[in-house]
Symmetry: C2
Subunit: 152 residues, 2 copies
DNA sequence: CTTGACCTTGGTGTTTACTCTAAGGTTTAT
DNA sequence: ATAAACCTTAGAGTAAACACCAAGGTCAAG
């Protein structure tokens, strides 16, 4: 399964092997390559992608960055900074993080407004089996002069 | 601007007029029509869409439902229930609302995890102008055995 | 009568992150 | 020798909610 290079030093993974190690589909790995996030360090004679340990660490970086909410484009930026650390400042990295943080916080606020409105609607509704002719939720959506609309 | 029907009762709006009343673009109105959310009640001789007061109220319904986080597909369902209130129960409407509420809350929780991680990273980073060689954010993304990873 | 604002249709493009397909070549195990 | 499992490429499809475009018809004002 594992191919050793001539130097007998670096462990190389075929795409399916790397896929299993970090639970990332082979389709996704090819997608990352096409989008400049992770290029395998080599190819076998028959054209198979070969990933080394460094590639594996890079994929870990991607997976972790994804797990804290960075988009692939943002991760691409982080990766290129990481590759040339000496040419970039700490402040640059922190800026990216803080920008993302602000976006996430804004989204949370929007969703919280949704949540509060939905909660109000739900709590006001009897939820019974009778016909929805007098359903308070539908009325709230239909009529302007309603408690739901006053709250917002 | 306003066209009166033969009955001299109903106010009809052309698409651009309705667009202005509720600040919804004409493209969006045509999109809603194509997707079965809002069909204008008539057409002029030259083929222009004509919306009446009922259509206006329907569009208000859509706009309000959107403002509390319902997707267009969910709104379509709500609209069809609203059209045939007697055939649907209050519980049905409340179920839709509660399902949406649960989805919104789940999303908020996910984003809150993102936020907490990002906050940790940001607070740990000096953000200075020096090179990012020892940047704590990049290290956290690179190495497993890090405070950031322990927290998660 | 012409200009400009408006309307029509049908179609493409945007964003994000994949997922799936087809048609075929390679490797490994039996 | 052959089947199973793996790999290759290019390209299409998915969701959501529109935005934008071209080519052309319509309508009101000056």
């Amino acid at each position: 399964m594992l191919v050793l290079t001539a130097q007998m030093e670096t462990i190389m993974y075929k795409i399916g092997e790397l896929s299993k190690v970090l639970s990332v589909s082979t389709d996704t790995l090819r997608y990352y390559e096409k989008n400049g996030l992770l290029k395998p360090s080599g190819r076998s004679e028959s054209g198979y992608r070969l990933y080394n340990d460094n590639d594996l660490r890079c994929l870990q970086f991607i997976v972790r960055a994804k797990s804290i909410g960075f988009s692939l484009n943002e991760i691409k930026e982080l990766l290129s900074i990481n590759l040339e650390k000496q040419d970039h400042s700490c402040g640059e990295v922190k800026s990216l993080t803080d920008l993302k943080l602000a976006q996430v916080e804004a989204k949370i606020m929007e969703l919280t407004r949704f949540k509060d409105s939905l909660r109000l609607l739900s709590d006001a509704c009897c939820g019974g089996e009778e016909a929805a002719i007098h359903c308070s939720i539908l009325s709230a959506l239909e009529n302007v002069d309603d408690s739901f609309n006053r709250v917002n």
